[in-house]
């Protein structure tokens, strides 16, 4: 393993396991994907949120109870239901419980890993609205992990596009969606059916599949699926260079592509 992970200029990779336990949930917490499966079915949700709190400080039962009520209000759940068990909640409500749990220790960073993937469109919309307002109210930094570009468009300020283990493009949201530079980003955006497009418009798709990372890979990992690929792409790894202020792209031919 190589590299650095800096939290307020503190390198987390140099911290011991004990020190990391403080950071986890205390400073960085996480909202997991499968809200339906990540709660313990035999504990009430209050006990589960309390468990996370107790791991980071000494709280009396009353303090936990008050904190859980407050968290329930924050995620727009009825605080009366804090002693209920997971099966008594719907999918959307369970995801709200998961969000409350992520907020239990006042973290600075919340990592949301596909927070709405298992939810229906209307509930997804409600959860995204909740996450957005909590972020604004509590001034939390947020990392959203998703395969769904439309969720990114709904929630984020900046976006980083990854392909086969590497960042291929990053920048502010409007640049990424309005003038994507990397051939992969462009292809991804074109492959989503959109209500605004004519119904008859043919969807384009990315030929082939992601390279097997256990074997040798071409210098530019998108080589082989890229319509613009040339010899240099197989041999020279394209650096992540600034394409416009604050926007970066890793492609040898982004200028030509942007002009075409």
């Amino acid at each position: 393993m190589d590299g650095k992970i800096l939290l307020h200029s503190d390198d987390l990779l140099r911290r011991s396991e004990d020190e990391m336990r403080e950071v986890r949930w205390g400073k960085i917490s996480m909202i997991f994907q499968g809200a339906l499966n990540s709660l313990n079915p035999v504990l009430s949700v209050k006990e589960q949120i309390g468990e996370a709190m107790q791991a980071h400080g000494n709280f009396s039962g009353e303090e936990v109870d008050m904190a859980v009520s407050r968290l329930f209000k924050a995620v727009r759940l009825d605080p009366e239901r804090r002693t209920n068990y997971p099966h008594e909640f719907s999918g959307g409500m369970k995801q709200r419980v998961m969000i409350a749990m992520a907020l239990a220790c006042n973290p600075e960073v919340v990592i949301a890993d596909e927070p709405t993937t298992a939810l229906d469109v209307i509930v997804q919309r409600q959860i995204l609205e909740l996450i957005r307002s909590l972020r604004d109210e509590l001034h939390i930094s947020m990392i959203l992990i998703t395969h769904d570009l439309s969720v990114v468009a709904q929630l984020c300020d900046k976006a980083v596009i990854m392909y086969a283990g590497k960042v291929v493009e990053k920048g502010d949201l409007h640049s990424i969606f309005e003038s994507p530079m990397h051939p992969y980003t462009r292809a991804l955006l074109k492959s989503i059916p959109k209500m605004e497009d004519a119904k008859t418009q043919e969807l384009s798709y990315i030929h082939g599949s992601v390279p097997d990372l256990t074997g040798p890979v071409p210098a530019c990992r998108f080589y082989g699926r890229c319509p613009h690929a040339q010899k240099i792409c197989e041999e020279v790894d394209p650096p992540l260079g600034e394409s416009s202020r604050g926007n970066y792209v890793a492609c040898h031919f982004w200028r030509q592509i942007a002009q075409a």
């Binding site: 229906d120 469109v121 509930v123 709904q154 949201l173 959109k194 209500m195 969807l203 990315i206």
Partner: protein, 333 residues
């Protein structure tokens, strides 16, 4: 639909209901409550059309598909395929009817037997229906099906196992298995929702191509309205076991009448960051299908509910071949 249809219906569903009993206790035999999974659906699918069924989880889409394939028997109602009643058909007749209907499921990782080769998987419908008398004939049919779904060269896939294929290739195999006995109807239950975004478009394009080339009829189940609009000619929106709106796909998406359809369309995430804060207007989640609200089943969540709504509306005409189970259809605003 009571409208004059341009072509003969391939399959006609009338007043279809499927209620599952709920056991009250662990040992009790009392079955006083029911899950109203499908609660009175009337629907025609015309030959050569793609009808999509959209709605949130638990609205009865999949139960309706299972009823059509007669994987479960309905509580009430009729299903006819080319005029023949599926529910009174005996085992032998049903066998013959099933050769006209094939299914494609959501998860291409679970729907293919990991211990079978692609040849065995794709030829299984031929074996089951005793159409595999000659081995060379079977081989020809399987190769033709693999070619049709774009698995080239087909011979190189015959001996492979599912684990050697990518998600998109597996879904192509599932499609090949569905078309190998030349069915007229394919029931596809969320066939692209487990696939990566980039592969989704590929499979949707393939399904449109197969429909054109083989003159197939699709029942396409999805929760994604943009996908439904792209793939289908007509669209039926389901809510709590009933069809609440049905019409030409483009028409339903551009002129939705039912407040539920409107909300679904507004909730649809778009890739336009400027459209992020549109209010969807409806609150809460879908009620339990055990206790269906009285009157219009959408009433408790509906922002437009008025004095007529305590009586459940039938599908009312909202436009050309466009119907909605909402009194607002009578007086379009």
């Amino acid at each position: 639909m009571n409208s004059p249809s341009p072509t003969e219906p391939l399959i006609a569903i009338k007043d279809l209901k499927k209620w599952y009993p709920v056991r009250k206790g662990f040992l009790s035999r009392a079955k006083s409550e029911f899950v109203h999974a499908v609660d009175g659906v009337t629907l025609d699918i015309r030959k050569g059309e793609a009808l999509s069924l959209v709605g949130e989880s638990g609205c009865g889409k999949t139960t309706l598909a299972r009823l059509m394939l007669r994987l479960v028997d309905p509580t009430e109602g009729t299903i006819t395929l080319r005029g023949q009643d599926l529910l009174t058909a005996n085992k032998r007749e049903m066998h013959r009817i099933r050769t006209q209907m094939q299914a494609v499921f959501q998860d291409p990782y679970a729907s293919l037997d990991p211990k079978q080769t692609i040849l065995q998987i794709v030829s299984e419908p031929l074996t089951v229906n005793k159409l595999d008398k000659k081995h060379s004939d079977t081989l020809d049919r399987v190769t033709a099906a693999l070619t049709a779904v774009g698995l080239n060269p087909p011979k190189s896939f015959l001996g492979k196992f599912p684990y050697e294929l990518s998600g998109g290739q597996r879904q192509r195999v599932a499609l090949a298995r569905a078309i190998v006995i030349k069915p007229s109807l394919i029931v596809a239950d969320e066939p692209v929702s487990m696939l990566d975004v980039s592969i989704r478009a590929e499979i949707l394009g393939l399904m449109l191509k197969l429909k054109r080339e083989l003159n197939l009829t699709y029942l396409f189940i999805t929760h994604d309205l943009a996908v439904a609009r792209y793939i289908s000619d007509r669209m039926a929106v389901m809510y709590l076991g009933r069809v609440v709106e049905i019409g030409p796909a483009e028409e339903v998406c551009s002129n939705p009448v039912h407040p539920y359809t409107k909300a679904l369309l507004l909730a649809l995430p778009t890739t336009d960051p400027r459209k992020r804060s549109v209010e969807i207007g409806i609150k809460g989640e879908v009620p339990s299908p055990v206790n269906i609200p009285a009157g219009c089943r959408f009433k408790p969540r509906c922002p437009y509910a008025f004095e007529k709504c305590p009586v459940e509306p039938e599908l009312l005409r909202a436009g050309n071949h466009h119907y909605a189970a909402c009194y607002l259809a009578e007086s379009p605003s």
